[in-house]
């Protein structure tokens, strides 16, 4: 049963990834074309998922948004995890204080200050990379706390003492011995961070910091959900949320066993 579940999840993720990669070929219209005679149109033959408030095809925007969110949110999560692994393995116990400080920083305000200082003529591509890049760099402390705890636990294990006694170098121990133990923790953190980053991008969009219009992302498409009356009248605006949930459930299904062999 578990195997079937994983196969379905893999197929779904492959389909979403293909959708993202082939967006210009499969989207019915460019994501920024405004059909000004059909603003806020309901689903129909011309627009399968209707149009948004200024007449842009919702389906096309969802397909293009998938390309950005499915690639960049996980990429930012990978950056966070890589940084967290590096800092927690190099820093040891000493980084506990640093992690606490980073976790207590009001990142949202720092983002606002940073955005206010950035050049205004930043193009959409730079704006997207900047948003996800900043999230990746700023988000290291959450997984670092878990990694630091796992590494501390690992340091007391017999196999590590044996490896050290055998004179194996630190890097080799890290890559060959420790990484298999940390991999499932890293995967769990990845599965937690990636959707969080998609939602964080949506929140940043509200502050004018996320992916800027007219480029679509799951984050800025989810902003419609803040308007209960719009959701009630046009339930199809929930499609990005549905897709996000499907992707997250699929990622969860692909997660390796959580039992750590420490």
């Amino acid at each position: 049963m578990r195997a079937i579940y994983r196969r379905v999840a893999s197929a779904l993720l492959v389909a979403v990834a293909l959708c993202a990669l082939l967006a210009p070929r499969i989207a019915p219209y460019p994501y920024d074309t405004q059909f000004r005679d059909s603003p806020a149109a309901p689903p129909g033959r011309q627009f399968l998922m209707g149009t948004d408030d200024i007449g842009r095809d919702r389906l096309s925007r969802l397909i293009y948004a998938t390309r950005i969110s499915v690639i960049l949110a996980p990429a930012a999560a990978l950056v966070s995890i890589a940084l967290a692994l590096l800092i927690s393995s190099v820093g040891g116990r000493a980084i506990g204080g640093l992690i606490t400080i980073c976790l207590s920083l009001p990142w949202i305000f720092l983002f606002i200050i940073l955005r206010a200082e950035l050049p205004l003529n930043t193009g959409p591509a730079e704006s997207i990379l900047l948003t996800f890049g900043l999230m990746g760099v700023a988000g290291w402390a959450w997984p670092a706390r878990v990694f630091a705890a796992s590494i501390a636990q690992m340091k007391q294990s017999g196999w590590l003492l044996q490896a050290r006694a055998a004179g194996i170098s630190g890097w080799r121990i890290g890559l060959v011995q420790a990484w298999p133990h940390l991999r499932s923790v890293a995967w769990a953190q990845f599965c937690m961070l990636a959707p969080n980053y998609i939602l964080l991008e949506a929140s940043l969009g509200l502050l004018g910091l996320g992916v800027s219009d007219p480029v679509p992302s799951w984050g800025n498409l989810l902003q419609d959900l803040q308007r209960p009356d719009v959701v009630k009248a046009n339930p199809w605006v929930l499609a990005p949320l549905g897709l996000l949930m499907l992707v997250m459930i699929s990622l969860e299904a692909l997660q390796p066993s959580r039992e750590l062999a420490l």
């Binding site: 920024d32 405004q34 000004r36 603003p39 408030d53 200024i54 007449g55 606002i112 955005r115 206010a116 050049p119 205004l120 003529n121 930043t122 193009g123 959409p124 509200l206 502050l207 004018g208 800027s212 219009d213 007219p214 209960p228 009356d229």
Partner: protein
């Protein structure tokens, strides 16, 4: 024990019955304001919540009728403009009293005005009464007569007194008032209650003392969606301002409550930064100071689409800096600014050396024409307007980067650092008289959007606007002032330093139980004749 229980039960039923009767009989109007008022001192009002309280409680000498724009007597039963608009004499009604019962005389008017004019007070109300930096002479002739005299004629002198709330001598946390209501309760963050002033002088035709309402409860409610939901549930009776989406919802769910008055006084506009700024290259500034460039941008924007799509048809295409709703001051010769075909804009841009190559507009030196457009984050209508402008300008090869900023950062950029290319915002006009807009159009004005506080006018047309505005500000004839203001509007449209887009309609919701409401486009809109409102 049984007898005691019966007695208590009867007492309880009695209390419930009496309080039900009281509740049914009480006439309390309920609506919401967006936040706590910062002050109850009418001379120090600087934001809209305090302004609403000030208006509802203020006893003023005269009132500008928000529907007719005529001045009508209030505490003053009559007045005379003297020496060609240099002086004004007010004659107060007999037997005037504040809400605490103390007598109101010309001495109170003089004390209030002198306090407003005192530089130590730093009162914004006082600023409007100064002529240049000079205070007028205030002389009490008798307990019911007062004269205010200036050295030069002052435009709209009588209308100024619409904003001067006459204050009682004794300061208090919740001060007495000479208006229809006074503040009787204040629970920070929750609500305020205004009670009817039993000493208020005004009576209706049948001789019944006004106001009709016993109390007004103003709930402090920041979230407009919740405010609207509460209105639709019947918990509030007025929503003084609605956006297009909310208005459509009210029109669907409670059609008689939805009121649209047509174009409001408040324009939406965009402008280019023409001030020398350290982060703006000189070649880019050259585009922005070119009237041909500005007119081409203006001509490429489909304002009718903005009105139809962004405001769901609840907006009017702008013709200039004054709304057509402002019937007297609007220059009727100006036509709504409709879009031109892209070819026409490109043809005029070619005269300045701009060429369209591979879908990109380039200037004489080959620079691709691209600029950022900043607006405030969280304002859905402006974000959508920016998206439409972005698309319109793409058709003439201009790339626009829309950037939304929090309001603080935005104001910092447009008033202090001047580090921006173009902005998209709206004006909130409180008065019909264009004197209020002088700070925008005078080259030395702090709100001179495209180049704040210029040392001297940078162009001959700005010098001409300065000259016309200064002349009309010391002119007492409305007709002469109207002529000067018509020319200012014509120049503003011709030179397009500010590109006016649309005037969103004034939309509000009034429960059918509220009678006597005559909403006007000028603030405070539904509430302007508060003493005449009643509940059925």
């Amino acid at each position: 024990m049984k007898i005691m229980w019966n007695r208590h039960f009867r007492l309880f039923i009695g209390v419930v019955f009496i309080s039900t009767l009281c509740a049914a009989g009480s006439k309390e109007l309920r609506f919401a304001i967006a936040g706590d008022p910062r002050t109850f001192d009418p001379l120090h009002v600087e934001e809209s919540n305090s302004e609403t309280i000030r208006y509802l409680t203020a006893g003023v000498l005269v009132r500008v009728n928000r529907l007719t724009d005529q001045i009508q007597p209030e505490l003053a039963e009559r007045w005379e403009l003297l020496d060609g608009g240099r002086a004004i004499t007010f004659h107060l009604r007999a037997g005037l009293r504040f809400s605490d019962g103390s007598a109101l005389t010309a001495g109170d008017v003089a004390r209030t005005l002198n306090r407003a004019l005192d530089p130590k007070e730093g009162s914004a109300t006082g600023d409007t009464f100064r002529s240049g930096q000079v205070n007028p002479e205030v002389r009490v002739v008798s307990p019911r007569e007062i004269t205010i005299r200036y050295k030069e004629p002052k435009a709209g002198l009588d209308r100024l007194f619409d904003s001067l709330a006459i204050a009682p001598p004794a300061p208090a946390k919740l001060p007495a008032s000479a208006g229809a209501f006074f503040v009787s309760e204040y629970h920070s963050g929750e609500y305020l209650r205004l009670a009817r002033n039993t000493y208020y002088w005004k009576r209706d035709a049948a001789g019944k003392q006004l106001p009709y309402l016993d109390t007004i409860r103003l709930d402090i409610q920041q979230n407009h969606d919740i405010e609207l939901t509460r209105f639709l549930r019947g918990e509030l009776q007025v929503v003084n301002r609605l956006d297009a989406e909310s208005f459509d919802r009210v029109a669907r769910e409670n059609p008689p409550a939805a009121r649209s008055l047509g174009a409001s006084l408040d324009p939406e506009f965009l402008w280019f930064n023409q001030a020398p700024a350290k982060n703006m290259p000189e070649w880019k500034r050259k585009w922005f100071i070119s009237p041909v460039f500005r007119r081409a941008v203006s001509g490429a924007i489909h304002r009718d689409d903005i009105a139809r799509i962004v405001y769901r048809g609840h907006a009017h295409v702008a013709a200039g800096p004054i709304s057509p709703a402002n019937r007297f001051w609007f220059n009727a010769a100006l036509q709504p600014l409709m879009a031109e075909p892209p070819g026409a804009a490109l043809k005029s841009l070619a005269t300045e050396g701009f060429t369209l190559r591979d879908g990109v507009l380039r200037d004489r030196d080959g620079h691709a024409v691209e600029f950022s457009l900043i607006t405030n984050t969280g304002n859905r209508a402006r974000e959508r307007t920016a998206a439409l402008i972005q698309d319109d300008l793409r058709h003439i090869g201009i790339r626009v980067n829309v950037v939304t900023l929090d309001f603080g950062s935005l104001i910092e950029r447009i008033t202090k650092t001047l580090d921006y290319d173009a902005g998209l915002l709206g004006f909130n006009n409180i008065e019909l008289d264009p004197l209020e807009q002088m700070n925008v159009w005078l080259s030395s004005g702090q709100e001179h959007a495209w180049w704040p506080a210029e040392k001297s006018p940078a162009t001959p047309w700005e010098a001409r606007i300065d000259e016309l505005l200064m002349k009309q500000s010391s002119e007492s004839s409305r007709e002469v002032r109207k002529k000067a203001n018509d020319e200012v509007q014509r120049i503003a449209v011709e030179q397009a330093p500010i590109i006016f887009l649309v005037y969103p309609d004034y939309l509000c919701a009034i429960a059918p139980a509220v009678r006597g409401a005559q909403p006007a486009v000028a603030p405070p809109q539904v509430l302007w004749n508060i003493e005449w409102l009643r509940l059925e």
